[in-house]
């Protein structure tokens, strides 16, 4: 699978998922199981993505002090109720800073 195919598949799939919700029969949402599943899956996926992108390299667990510091900066920014973009900038800036200092 080339990168372009992945891009096309994700674009088509994401649009289909959005449309499915607007077009689906209303009573689907009355199922507590459906609603619960939909609430839980993104939480698990996002947490796993954070863990993998911060604490692995080339598919192996790895500790990168700079990225870890960047994630902590994001936590602090979120605790201070900073807006979305400020959280991202704080993470990047601290990562860059620590990387620069540690060389």
């Amino acid at each position: 699978m080339t990168l372009w195919w992945a891009v096309v598949a994700v674009c088509a799939g994401c649009y289909a998922l959005k449309l499915a919700g607007l077009a689906a029969p209303r009573r689907l949402l009355d199922h507590p199981r459906v609603r619960r599943f939909a609430e839980l899956v993104p939480v698990a996926l996002l947490a796993a993505l954070i863990a993998v992108q911060v604490f692995t390299e080339q598919g192996r667990p790895a500790f990168d002090p700079a990225r870890t510091a960047g994630l902590l900066a994001a936590v602090v920014a979120l605790l201070l109720r900073a807006p979305f973009l400020v959280v991202l900038i704080a993470a990047a800036a601290v990562t860059a800073l620590v990387r620069g200092v540690l060389g």
Partner: protein, 220 residues
């Protein structure tokens, strides 16, 4: 408040959220190019996928040299929450035919949040349309800017751009974690599963595997 006030409040909400969140397209464009996508690939994702978490998920896994099928599946699983937003918005928007095809593209976290926060149905529709328009425009322009800027920059690790994707995920996750100990437990479990599985499975697959932790919570 009368109808016009409700509607102008909805416009204000929509513009504010749309412009502020849209700026983080800069981060997406930058991290996409960092991950090895071309500038056109980054822009096509923002134009046609137009859902931040899925876009970051695909580029993050691609950057780790991961299996692209698993990476795409992960992105689509994340996109599945837009289906639920659509279910909730359908009654508010009441769109049919070609307008429904267009409105569907705008069914994402931010437009749903603004629409559901409005006091009347009319204001909800205004909020949805305004957020969609402002965010779509800003997100795509800043994606292009971030992608072009990074591709002419050299080594993006120096700027700490590899931390932007995880920070974006954390920011999306934060309100949910703050409100529920059960969800915090689920998040910790999913992260642990993905990390423990990562030496044994191709990149991208551990993230999919982590979704099984949901079953544990559901069965309990």
């Amino acid at each position: 408040m009368d109808r016009t006030t409700h509607r102008s409040a909805a416009v204000r909400d929509g513009l504010g959220v749309g412009l502020a969140v849209g700026l983080s397209g800069l981060a997406f464009g930058a991290s996409a190019v960092t991950a090895g996508l071309s500038v056109p690939q980054a822009c096509v994702l923002s134009l046609l996928a137009f859902t931040g978490a899925s876009q970051f998920a695909l580029t993050g896994a691609a950057g780790a040299g991961g299996d692209l099928v698993a990476a795409s599946l992960g992105a689509l699983l994340l996109g599945g929450r837009n289906t639920l937003y659509g279910l909730r918005l359908a009654d508010l928007l009441r769109v049919r035919g070609p307008r429904r095809l267009l409105a569907a593209h705008g069914v994402i976290d931010e437009t749903t949040a603004v629409a559901l926060a409005q006091p009347t149905q009319e204001a909800a529709r205004t909020g949805f349309v305004t957020t969609f328009a402002a965010l779509y425009l800003t997100w795509n322009l800043t994606t292009l800017g971030g992608a072009l800027g990074t591709s002419s920059l050299g080594d993006p690790g120096v700027l700490g751009l590899d931390a932007v994707g995880p920070a974006a995920f954390l920011a999306i996750l934060w309100p949910r974690l703050a409100g529920s100990a059960e969800l915090r437990g689920l998040a910790a479990g999913a992260a642990a599963v993905a990390l423990c599985a990562s030496p044994f499975l191709p990149p991208g697959v551990p993230v999919l595997l982590s979704a099984t932790t949901v079953l544990v919570v559901l069965v309990r």
